[in-house]
Symmetry: C2
Subunit: 387 residues, 2 copies
């Protein structure tokens, strides 16, 4: 299979590219390095040093003999997208190429506008490129469980059978996203569903939980193949951030009471989910949605898990929640699609958490401690960023 990974230089895009390449797929990577520029803007960096994309792909080729073709450019440039899709001629496009931080989207107006423009227009260009070049290309699009919010009913996989006044219809699951970033993903999903309907495109929308972990069997073959490990309050995902706070002797900062419950998934399962979705594509015209998680945990439970695993004293601190979200709520997410395709989950284990501590220890001198505290306030229209 020929797979084009959009955002293939990022935290998950890069390990996905390696996982697919390792499995025998011909892989191409598209990236504009916007994620690296956000680091410059925020004055932070991945805890684990990451190599330039050209070094990464060269090391991979040396080790495996497998080539990963790279295309540098921005998805908001529609002509570029058409050109790349035409030249690479993929069977599958895996789309990670979006601004992926909720707090980043909530910094101020400019960041909200950037996020929605970058994500919605980029995705629209991808849809047009597929429709123009080859409508049989399967789009595997990364969404997030955060699109659903925390409804008081079970969260189904994208669609809901609705009964109302004695009549029924199968409708898109009503969403209540929690940031302008999450909203951009909801907009994307609507645009994709429409493209499937009018052009007969085939798409799988993956509503992913919070990812934890930093290593896959491929990234550990050489330190230069490492993927990002983000710890800052803007781009760090919560479980990874807790691990880093534990090692640094900082209190684990739980927003509000920590009763917020979220779906989570191991990075090794993420890359395998992408592969499974690619191997078993949606039908022409089908807008297929999978919830991509392996278990649900409250933020408090995540903190406790990290604190218990750490060989030393760890303080858990409840800080004022900078977000606007319920911290006591019903949460039950259906996920049968990916398991039915063969996913065998790595559930969150003490072993996994313990494996992260030495990674952090090795790079602890790289941490900018001021970047750990939340600076972006959902209720405010302009946040003061600490550099």
């Amino acid at each position: 299979m020929r797979v084009l990974v959009l955002g293939g230089d990022g935290y998950l895009g890069w390990p996905t590219a390696l996982h697919l390449s390792d499995g025998g797929d011909e892989v191409g990577v598209v990236d504009s390095f916007l994620r690296r520029s956000y680091d410059e803007e925020m004055g932070v960096d991945s805890l684990v040093p990451i190599e330039p994309l050209e070094v990464r792909t060269a090391v991979w080729e040396q080790l495996t003999g497998r080539r990963i073709e790279t295309f540098v450019g921005d998805l908001v440039d529609g002509d570029f997208v058409v050109d790349v899709v035409r030249r690479f001629a993929p069977d599958t496009i895996v789309h990670f190429g979006e601004q992926r931080s909720a707090p980043y989207s909530m910094i101020d107006r400019a960041h909200a506008v950037h996020t929605q423009h970058n994500n919605v227009i980029g995705n629209l260009n991808v849809l047009y490129a597929i429709a123009e070049v080859d409508p049989s290309i399967h789009l595997v699009k990364l969404g997030t469980l955060g699109e659903y919010g925390t409804p008081n009913i079970d969260i189904e996989e994208g669609w809901l059978d609705v009964e109302h006044n004695g009549r029924t219809d199968r409708m898109l699951f009503p969403k209540k996203p929690g940031s302008f970033y999450h909203l951009s993903k909801v907009h994307d999903s609507h645009n994709i569903e429409f493209a499937c309907r009018i052009w007969g495109l085939r798409a799988t929308d993956l509503n992913q939980g919070v990812v934890y972990g930093q290593q896959t069997p491929q990234t550990t073959r050489d330190p230069r193949l490492a993927t990002r490990f983000d710890y800052d309050a803007v781009f760090g995902t919560v479980l990874n951030r807790f691990v880093i706070q534990a090692v640094l002797g900082e209190p684990l900062s739980v927003y509000g009471s920590g009763g917020q419950t979220r779906g989570v998934i191991d990075i090794r399962d993420t890359v395998e989910c992408i592969r499974l979705a690619s191997v078993h594509p949606a039908e022409p015209g089908e807008f297929r949605v999978f919830n991509q998680l392996t278990e649900s945990m409250s933020v408090h439970e995540m903190a406790k898990t990290v604190a218990d695993a750490f060989p030393g004293v760890v303080e858990v601190e409840n800080v004022a929640n900078p977000r606007v979200e319920a911290d006591q709520h019903y949460y039950n997410v259906t996920f049968t699609g990916l398991p039915s395709l063969g996913l065998e989950p790595h559930l969150l284990s003490r072993t996994l958490i313990e494996s992260l501590f030495p990674i952090v220890e090795r790079h602890r001198d790289r941490v900018h401690r001021t970047a750990l505290a939340p600076t972006v306030q959902w209720r405010s229209t302009a946040s003061e960023l600490r550099r």
Copy 2:
């Protein structure tokens, strides 16, 4: 009341500004004249000549002594929006300032991107301006019934009480829009609901039906106060287009079987709905949705109504539907919100239709006949436009 009308130079924005000014409100108008530039691009023009905005407002002031302040600029320029909102200090912002044609948004990739960029980013800037300048400003936002599509259940006013697996929640009504334009409005609605939730903004989202008619008690006071009358296949709304086709002796072009049913509303009711929503604002934090129509009709019924009213022979022609839409479907739209605020509808009458014929007759030499036929194909990613 101080009301700022965004898109106040357009087909409905202008009569709304006059209706509010006539009722004693202090009215400001914001426009970038993008709608006029679309005419240049398409090589068409309003059937009825329209004056430049400065002439329109000058005539209104001469006739009534009432001043309408004007602000020329683009809503995608966020600083401009903040500046205008700060200077005018409105109680209510009525937001018509979006690209409003479904076919225009489906011309090709550039037009889809323009539509979603223009509408979504412009609206986002309006939300930020309200939140920054004065969160008590009531946003009255124009949406469209086309956001809902044609579900097999009753269409409620924006929200739906969902029961699922024995649990319940009140959720946004699931939508299935029919074009990239309609999608942009769905994206707007999601962004607005979120802004109400996190910033406590107050908003009324008006999901409007197909508007017909061209005159209001204010626009008829002087020919220079006239609003647009669009007849082309891109910007003309279906009932107005049928009237024009009848006068020109062209067959009324019904897309497909004409079984598509749509909500419709008289232009005089549109402007009154806006006034009613403004006088009775949403509560702080409330995202209120009204369906803005007065009756539902199939496209075939609309054609028949026009043909019956016309004093002469009119042919009705079923042409291949350029859109992707069901032409046999259930359609039942709830609309109780605006009637409960006091709306007394003008239902579609033979008298109204008859009043349009002489207007068309007077300006028949201005018609570009080639612009009447549909040139934008939903299934194609790039349409050939006739100029």
